[in-house]
Every structure is written in structure tokens, then in C-alpha cells.
Assembly symmetry: C2
Homo-oligomer: 464 residues x 2
């Protein structure tokens, strides 16, 4: 299919880039098309909290001028993307989904925004999210519910709910989110798009409003895996001003394609022993089909278990560290204007903040030990596969399942890369995701397996 | 000087190794000489808590047999060393200097002990230490005071006081200690020997009794820098069973010599802005001479400051993390037999354990940010020099100076390598140490500068 036969919002990052390069489309045209679509379509989704139309058009015009002068910056030059609203863009508000931060302007760009601007991206605006990134429904009391574009009244997931929804609904070519226990991958899975949480420290979190500086990651969401790779290539790198930055070198690994479509010789561990996490039948069936697909690509499938990993207790230990850190991050605002937060947030964070220090120290220890659990599993197979979430998206009217992040949070604690790619539909026809894991700094391997699976499977399907 | 003209206890690791290789001495003879010396000399020092004479003689005999068969294992084969008593040797008690642990046998070897045994070392025994490694005087209520071999009644420093004292007094060829805020380097400086704290995660701490799993490091003490390098070569390496292990590869860096005796082209930062830490005049004078020596070796000296580093507040933040973690480590023993700990220990740890979680989370954050402070300083000069301790060793009868670890603890929080080498004598004639720092995983660079300085300066001087 030729790129120009489709509308701009149907093209991914790589496809748009090719269309720009071939003169079939300008960055200005693509940006105008996205802005028009946001105008006409986002009222029912509510994925954008702030549209930076003027700056976007200026950036697109500048991109086109560079290209006309033969000075295009690379594959991201002129690509219209959007950012979760806890990522700073200078001169634009960063609410982090919290009422008290309404209208609070960022003074400078986040590290990843600096990187992406230098690569020429066009920033369309800032996206809805669960309050303070603590929660995975995106039922935001202050800024309004963000809906799943596949089914109104259903959660897009969270906390990067706006990112998942905007990418799925074709309201940006790709988006950034943040992921503390699954907050990039859960909305990607619920909304039927691809998402990536890099190795801890590969992408600097400087200039994002932290939820937990020890578990937070910045990651991309896109409709195609190769688009994730193009974004990660620009985002990854050592940041001497970020204590968590562990990227040793820049540019020695490429995350973008072209990828092989075969997985011959690769051993993939199917994660078993998930009995503690109730999986919907449709998720189990989709996962079984995904494993068959991976096998058909030449991979050898073996069963692997996370020995010593207790899902619920470990999620609760991680939650305590998050609550204590969130209390530090938002201390001034909580003291000055407690009503600028939801009662739910204040209750959680207040409880965590008051626990005795020895309990928090033990929680940090338990979380760190998940690195060992992951290493032991990865010693059996270099890539592990499991569902991204135990279920499809649910209705806002329904109770929130406690196990939402049980399958994703291991990768945050273990600090390992984790991708989600669409693996078809679940029981009621909503998207479900396949999760792929590998060892620390094996991000390119995860990307490669995700791309091969994507090419052989259903992949992204636009909402009706 | 030929090695065989000197007594075994006057030889360092490399010198003993050469003497073995040339057939001038056997491991058995060296071991017997050390054991005899421990018998005759250690009563007044009290550096050994446990002498494993039988196992040592067996190991020495086995080493000699290997050598006779042409199968010597390398430069450490047959070298008699000793270990701080918080490092596990299978079948030998590990007290960690705590009364409640008296006689408690270790079930297996610590990671570093496995490594060193595989390299052929002979373990003479286990060394005195400050209770639980929390403190730097080695005035141990349960196991007795360990004295500085340079002046009886004076502290050898701590918490690895027995390690510093035994190396200085010639009661082992080298020793291992652990270092949480300076516990290898402070006793090395006070006792006039060399000591090394590696990059965090380069040497696994598995099988040591933790004080703080986030700040603990295992490191060597020896009379010569090249001996530190030989030990580090054997100790460093990835440990898949240690959450803190960050060594990516084994054997791709050598820490042992031969080292260049020149430092031409190297920029060394003299750390200034230490006004908050009262330095003894003799330490200042010795440090000025050391800087002159480094300059005479060809290094360019510039002034560098740790911008944003507040010595006392940061030491107190680190102390809170340590107390909370120590409460977790010793929880069972504290519950079962509180009188098995000193009142001082219980008071400190109990206070830390009861602080609210948000305070501990903030302390972890402040400690992590020291990585940034160090990176900014190291961006100006790849190697930094400062005194190891602000003063000489003090009498047990005198009050303990609070600033003991103020100059060493930065390297623990920043996770960077730090060496101490003797830089002559202070006001009252006791040894003082020069501290050298470099960036993460630049351990070999620190070793190289320390060796060049050592070769050009007074170096180790045996106690009278």
C-alpha cells in the first residue's frame, strides 16, 4: 500500500517519514490533519488536556523548510506526536493530572523532549492521565474521564490513558507515557496499540513529574513496533544530570528496524505459574495463539516460571515505596492545598508516608530482589512472553480489578525492558496485549521479537 | 632488595607471590610465619577474633603441592590473608562483631571468598570489627578493643579496624573489609596502609552480613597498592545472585600492575571547599605535600568543589537509611535477644527504624543525588584528591569526632571507586591517608594514580 493512499492519521511514524521523504506529504499537512482530527474527534475521547496548535504548526513549517533545504534531521523530523501531561515542555502547563497543578507552566523541556525536539518532532499537545500517575483507569476527577476509543464508557487504562487513547484513535502519530508498574503498557494493551518500557536508566526521566523515582520509566506508544524503535533511538542516552541514568553510551545500539521476520534459533519462555492472577478466558486463548505464532516463526518455546515471585505481596511492597516517594514529590502541594488532590490520592499517599521506616526499607529490599527472580527466569530463556494485562478494558461503572498491574509490574521492579503488542481481541471484543521481556539493556532484542510477532499477527486495528 | 632477605611478614602479596615462584619460600612457610606472629604479637593488638590455623596450613600445603606440580593458580596462590568478621567462610563463625552472633557458623562461603579460594588464597582467620559495622572506632564491647599497632590505646579506625590493624602489624599479607561510609578506608588511613572501595556493584557483597545493602561495599586492604589490584582482579565480577551486582563482564579490566610511574597528561582535581569539615593542620600539610608530589609526577592540578554537597546533613541522611536497613537485617536477633547488642546500637537502629516512611524516602533521594554531585565534579577532572580522614587516629579515652567519615562517605553515596594510600604522618606522628576518586567503573584509573603516588612517596611504614 502506498502511504499517500491513506490519510495522514492512518500512517505510523515510519510511514509518515517515508511520505515526507518522497514528497507525498508535508509535515505541515500532517500536522494540520492531526489538529483537525483532534478538533473533530477528541471531544468524545478526551485524550488531550492541552493542544499546542500554534507551536506545532511552527515546528512543522520549520521541519518542511529544513527538508526543502536538504537538511532534514532524520526519521522523526516533522512527525506529530503528543506527550503525557507529566512530561515538561517549556512554556506549557504540566498538570500531571493533578488539580493543584492546573496551569502550572514548565520552565524547561524534559530530557526526552530535548532529544525529540532535536530530532525534529512536532509536539501536538499534552495528554490526559490518571491523577499523579497513581492508578490505571484514567477516571480523572479534575480533568475528566478519558475514554477507550474502542468502546465509550470503558477505561483506556492508565496511568498513560490519554497516550493509549490518542494513539489508538489516530490523534497523534505516536505518544510518550510513563510507566511505574505498567502505566505505558496497560493503556497500550487496552487500546490495542504497541508500547514499550525500556531498561531502567536507559531513558532519562529528568523533567517528568515523578510518581516514584525508583520505579518510573518514560516510554513510547505507537501503532507499529518499528515506530517505538524510532522513538527509542532518539530518547535513549546517558544523562549526567539524572541520578537514575545508567545508559553508558549513546548510539551504539539501534532499536529501530529493519527487523528480521523470523525468530529461528531463539528460545522464548512462556511464563507459567500465573494461577495467582485470574486471567480472563479470552486472554488465555489469545495468549495461546500468540505462542503458536511465535513458534511458527521459528522460536523454541519452553515453560518458565518466576520462582519466588508472589504477585500480590510484591505489588503491595512496590506500592508502599511509591506512596512514600509520592509523598516526598508532592509534599509542598499537599501541605499548601490538600484539596488540590483527590481524597483517594491523599488517603493512599498519607498512609504510605506514615509507615515506619523499617517497613519501607524492607519493601525496597523486596523490590530490589525481583531483579534476582527475573535473572533466574531469564537464565532459562533470553526472552519471556506473558499477557500484558489479565483482562480486557472494563467499564468505568464496574469495580476496578486489583490485578491490573500484576503482570506488568515485575519488569519495573526487575528494571528490564518490556514491550506490549496487540494480540487480537478478548472475550467481549476489546484488544488484549502480548508482553515480551528480556534482560537488562536487551531492549533491542525485545523490539526485534515484538516486530516479528506483529508482522505475523493481527497487529493494530483502528477503532470503528 | 631480594624478597628472601626479608621476613615473610614484611612481604606484600606480589612480593610473596614472586618469592613462591622463585622457590625462595613456600606457602606453608609463609603461613607458619604469619601464624607464629599472630600467636606472639596479636595479644596486644587484638585484631583476630578467630584464627583458622588448621585450615590455613592445609590450604598452604595444597598450594605448595599445586606449585610443585606446575599447576599454581596465579598470583594469589598460597597468599595468607584474613577477613573482616562479617564475611562468611563456610564452617567458621561470622559474628559481625555482635555478641548475639557469637559462635554462629556460616553455611557457605561469601562470593568473594569463593573467588579468592578459587585463586588459591590461604585464609588465616577472621578479624575484629566495630559492632555490626556501625561505627568507626572498633571499641567492641563484646569482643574487646582492637588497638592501632602504631600506638596502643588508640583506635585503628573502623568499622574494619581489625583489618587495618592486622595488615599494618604484619599479621596477614592483606585483608578484606567492608565499607559503608568509609569503613575500609578510615582504618587503612589510621593504620598507615592502602585500602580500596570499588565502584558499587563491581564486587558482590553476597555472603557478608549487611549493614546497609544500598551502601555496603567489600574492599581490600594491603601494604602496597599493587596488592590491592591483585585482590580486586580476583574479587570483581558479575554475580547473578546479588541484586546489587552491576559488573557487566569479568576479566576485561585488570586492576593489578605493572603501573606507570608517571601521570603526564592527567588532570587531577584537588578538592577544595572542605571548610565545613575541620581538618587537622598536620592533615592539611600532608595533603599539600601530596598534591605537590602528584604535580611532580606530571599531573595538572586544578581546584574542584563538590557543589551542593553538605557534609553533615548528607551524612545524617545516609545514616538514617543505614539504621533503617540495619533494623531489617537484624530484626530477628533484635526481637529474640536485644541484650545481644550494645545499647548504643539498639538506640541508633531503633530510632531510625521508627522514623516515618516519607522521611526515609527523602533520605534515599538525597543520597542518590550525590551521584549527580560527583558527576559534576568529575566532569572537571577525571580524578579527584582529598584527605581520607580529617585527622589522625585518636585515643579511645578521647571523644569520637563526628566528622570521621565526612570525607569518605561521598564515594559510597556516589557509588564511585575510592582508594586511600599513606601520605606520611600528621601532627602527633600517626599515619594519615590520601584519598583518590574517579568515575563509576574507573577503578583501574584510581589504582594507577594511587600506585604512582605510592611509588613517589613515603608509602607504608611498619609500626615500631
Amino acid at each position: 500500500m502506498n502511504a499517500h493512499r491513506r490519510l495522514p492519521h492512518q500512517l505510523g511514524v515510519a510511514e509518515l517519514s517515508a511520505a515526507f521523504a518522497h514528497g507525498e506529504l508535508t509535515a505541515r499537512q500532517a500536522t494540520e490533519a492531526y489538529l483537525a482530527r483532534i478538533d473533530s474527534q477528541d471531544a468524545k475521547v478526551n485524550s488531550y488536556l492541552h493542544v499546542t496548535a500554534h507551536a506545532a504548526l511552527d515546528a512543522a513549517t520549520a521541519s518542511d523548510a529544513r527538508r526543502a533545504a536538504g537538511k532534514a534531521l532524520g526519521p522523526l523530523d516533522g512527525i506529530p506526536i503528543a506527550l503525557k501531561d507529566n512530561i515538561d515542555v517549556a512554556g506549557v502547563p504540566t498538570t500531571a493530572g493533578i488539580a493543584v497543578r492546573r496551569g502550572r507552566l514548565a520552565h524547561s523541556d524534559a530530557f526526552v523532549v530535548q532529544r525529540l525536539k532535536r530530532a525534529g518532532v512536532v509536539i501536538l499537545g499534552k495528554l490526559n492521565m490518571h491523577e499523579a500517575a497513581l492508578g490505571a483507569t484514567n477516571a480523572n476527577e479534575a480533568y475528566g474521564v478519558c475514554h477507550n476509543p474502542h468502546r465509550h464508557g470503558f477505561t483506556p487504562g492508565g496511568s498513560s490513558g490519554g497516550s493509549g487513547a490518542a494513539v489508538a484513535a489516530g490523534l497523534c502519530a505516536a505518544a510518550l507515557g510513563t510507566d511505574t508498574l505498567g502505566s505505558v503498557r496497560i493503556p497500550a494493551a487496552y487500546c490495542g496499540v504497541a508500547g514499550f518500557k525500556p531498561t531502567y536508566g536507559l531513558v532519562s526521566t529528568r523533567g517528568t513529574v515523578p510518581l516514584s523515582w525508583t520505579l518510573d520509566h518514560v516510554g513510547p506508544l505507537a501503532r507499529k513496533v518499528e515506530d517505538l524503535g524510532l522513538l527509542l533511538d532518539a530518547m535513549a542516552g546517558f544523562d549526567s544530570e539524572c541520578a537514575e541514568s545508567r545508559a553508558r553510551t549513546t548510539g551504539d545500539t539501534r532499536y529501530a528496524g529493519p527487523y528480521s521476520q523470523r525468530l529461528d534459533g531463539l528460545v522464548i519462555g512462556r511464563v507459567v505459574g500465573l494461577e495467582a492472577v485470574p486471567l480472563q478466558p479470552g486472554v488465555i486463548a489469545a495468549f495461546d495463539r500468540a505462542i503458536d505464532t511465535l513458534r511458527s516463526l521459528g522460536a523454541t518455546i519452553i515453560d518458565v516460571r518466576f520462582d519466588g515471585y508472589d504477585f500480590t505481596p510484591l505489588r503491595l511492597q512496590a506500592l508502599l515505596t511509591i506512596e512514600a516517594e509520592a509523598a516526598v514529590v508532592h509534599a509542598d502541594d499537599l501541605a499548601a492545598d490538600p484539596d488540590g488532590f483527590s481524597e483517594t490520592f491523599r488517603t493512599f499517599v498519607g498512609w504510605g508516608a506514615r509507615q515506619p521506616a523499617h517497613k519501607l526499607a524492607a519493601a525496597y529490599r523486596a523490590v530490589a530482589d525481583v531483579q534476582l527472580i527475573a535473572r533466574r527466569a531469564l537464565a532459562q530463556a533470553p526472552v519471556l512472553a506473558l499477557p500484558t494485562a489479565p483482562h480486557e478494558a472494563f467499564a468505568f461503572a464496574d469495580p476496578v480489578p486489583h490485578v491490573q498491574a500484576d503482570l506488568t509490574s515485575l519488569a519495573n521492579m526487575a528494571r528490564i525492558p518490556s514491550a506490549t503488542v496487540p494480540m487480537g481481541r478478548g472475550d467481549t471484543g476489546l484488544p488484549v496485549g502480548l508482553q515480551l521481556l528480556a534482560g537488562e539493556f536487551q531492549d533491542a532484542l525485545v523490539m526485534r521479537v515484538a516486530a516479528a510477532y506483529e508482522a505475523a499477527s493481527a497487529s493494530y486495528v483502528a477503532p470503528d
